[in-house]
């Protein structure tokens, strides 16, 4: 039973991130997810400390506040003092992440977080933290939270699908049509922030990035249709969750780490497959040419 809850938790994270990830990689914004997931740390730690609990709502507020601070800092460095964008992002999120780690040390004992957990989460504990609704056992709390997040994200994406696709593919054309490119950018960012924050506890900061970029990238290699890419990415994410879990059990290691490893393997296999296809196509073309020239 425990297996099931853990795999379910991972799959929920994987599905939400795979969908968002497809948009992120097409917009060349894969690293923004990285920045956000690191930058929300201080906000989360402070929320934990103030609320003395693991309740989700204060955490979300804390993360949002942290997110706004990092966004402000990046704007400050990039727009106000004209620093190059990659450096603006780098300085801002590492600073906030450092503060987060310091706060964890400072509050240690008062805050139920440890440094390792922050980086790679501890999904194994998920089934131990159960929710009860009206006195009835309702399954692990994380599953409820992640499930709700998935529904929110899924709905938001379906509702805004055309606008998101158009602003991703051709922002100039979209802008000329009167669509606010900036608005949909923030919309997407809000979704990524929400997802990163709620996934924090189960998979940690760095591994959310594997979930956001990996399955989407693998799907991108294999298909020419964006809708199919979304489905494939979700499929890869869920299968990585299942395989990753059993790998972790076998190696007695971190579950999130194992899932990330499987994600990497999926990508590697797809990549090699594509290279073979390319070579096959080239030699086929050359053969055909040779035949026709005879």
């Amino acid at each position: 039973m425990i297996d099931f809850w853990i795999i379910l938790t991972a799959s929920l994270v994987a599905t939400t991130t795979a969908i968002l990830g497809c948009f992120l990689i097409m917009r060349k914004m894969a690293m923004i997810g990285d920045a956000i997931s690191h930058a929300v740390l201080p906000g989360i730690v402070i929320a934990y400390y103030i609320s003395h609990s693991r309740a989700s709502f204060p955490i979300l507020i804390g993360a949002a506040a942290s997110g706004m601070v990092v966004t402000y800092l990046i704007q400050f460095f990039h727009q106000k003092v004209k620093l190059q964008q990659d450096a603006s992002i780098g300085i801002s999120y590492t600073f906030l992440f450092a503060i987060g780690i310091i706060l964890i040390s400072l509050f240690s004992g008062n805050v139920d977080l440890d440094q390792d957990c922050v980086l790679y989460g501890e999904i194994a504990y998920v089934p131990l933290d159960n929710l009860s609704i009206g006195g009835l056992y309702a399954g692990p709390r994380q599953v409820w939270i992640l499930g709700t997040t998935l529904i929110i994200i899924l709905t938001s994406v379906i509702v805004a699908y055309r606008k998101l696709v158009l602003t991703t593919f051709d922002p100039a054309f979209a802008s000329a049509m009167g669509i606010s490119v900036v608005l949909w950018q923030y919309y997407l960012m809000a979704g990524v922030s929400l997802t990163t924050v709620v996934s924090f506890e189960s998979v940690g900061a760095v591994l959310v990035i594997a979930f956001l970029s990996g399955p989407a990238a693998t799907a991108f290699l294999l298909t020419k249709d964006f809708k199919k890419m979304l489905y494939l990415a979700v499929g890869f994410g869920i299968s990585a969750s299942i395989l990753g879990y059993y790998t972790a059990v076998w190696l007695a290691g971190s579950i999130a780490g194992a899932i990330a490893t499987i994600i990497g393997l999926q990508f590697a296999i797809a990549f090699i497959y594509i290279q073979f296809l390319k070579k096959a196509r080239i030699s086929e073309t050359l053969e055909n040419k040779a035949l026709t020239e005879v």
Partner: protein
């Protein structure tokens, strides 16, 4: 007769964008109009300022005597080909269908009429056999035709095109210009940023010559003269560039009218 495009004192001075100064003109309808000038003369900037993609520092423009917001459904913008990532997983049909989104909003499904218009646009640019082809597998000329089909699907009255003939093979270029001419014959107005002086006289009946500021505007026969072309292509106004750099360096405020 309402003018197609009017600009008043349109000025854009940002760092890293080619600047345009005090552009003031009124363009007729039902013609193919060329916008030409040397590199960095601000031709794309001008189109983007008219389309509201860039906010001008000073001045404004009007389309068919109205604000852009009120006539968006009558205007179609064809950006430069390289502004898009052609690796995006979409088919030719998907891209052309985007032209119908303007009237459909977030949810409305594409109707039979929409489908018909998309198919018709594809056939006008001779891309019907490629309808389901992935866009990354297209040649430069084919990509340009897809962009054009998307614009046609919008069924606008005014088309603004940014360098549609760059990187396009001769046969496609001929096909495109023929299509533009037939659109003009239907009463559409086409504003085309172009780079090749050799074909300008054949393609355009009316021209706007730009070199950061307006050098000349009028019927091709009147403005395509040695003197005007020399002024357009013969180098920038150094004083103008000096003023622009002082403005940027010293961070001077610009008044917006």
């Amino acid at each position: 007769m309402k003018p197609s495009v009017e600009t008043h004192n349109l000025t854009v001075i940002y760092d890293k964008k080619p600047a345009i100064w005090n552009i003031d003109f009124t363009l007729p309808t039902g013609k193919i109009i060329g916008i030409m000038g040397p590199n960095g003369s601000g031709k794309s900037t001008l189109l983007k300022a008219i389309m509201g993609i860039i906010e001008p520092n000073i001045g404004y423009s009007k389309l068919f005597d109205q604000d852009l917001e009120d006539v968006r459904n009558k205007v179609s913008y064809v950006p430069q080909r390289q502004s898009v990532d052609w690796d995006f997983p979409a088919s030719v049909w998907d891209v052309v269908a985007m032209g119908r989104y303007a009237t459909k909003g977030l949810f409305k499904r594409l109707s039979k009429e929409d489908h018909r218009m998309i198919e018709e646009s594809l056939s006008k640019v001779n891309m019907t056999p490629f309808t389901n082809r992935q866009i990354s597998q297209l040649s430069g000329g084919q990509q340009q035709r897809v962009f054009l089909a998307r614009a046609l699907a919008q069924n606008a009255d005014l088309y603004l095109m940014d360098e549609p003939f760059v990187g396009v093979d001769a046969a496609t270029e001929q096909a495109i210009i023929n299509l533009l001419k037939s659109m003009r014959d239907e009463g559409k107005t086409l504003l085309v940023v172009h780079h090749d002086l050799h074909t300008a006289q054949d393609y355009f009946e009316h021209m706007v010559l730009l070199n950061s500021r307006l050098v000349a505007e009028g019927p091709t026969s009147e403005v395509f003269t040695k003197d005007i072309l020399t002024e357009t292509y013969g180098g920038t106004l150094t004083t103008l560039s000096k003023v622009a750099s002082v403005l940027q360096e010293k961070d001077f405020p610009m008044r917006h009218k």
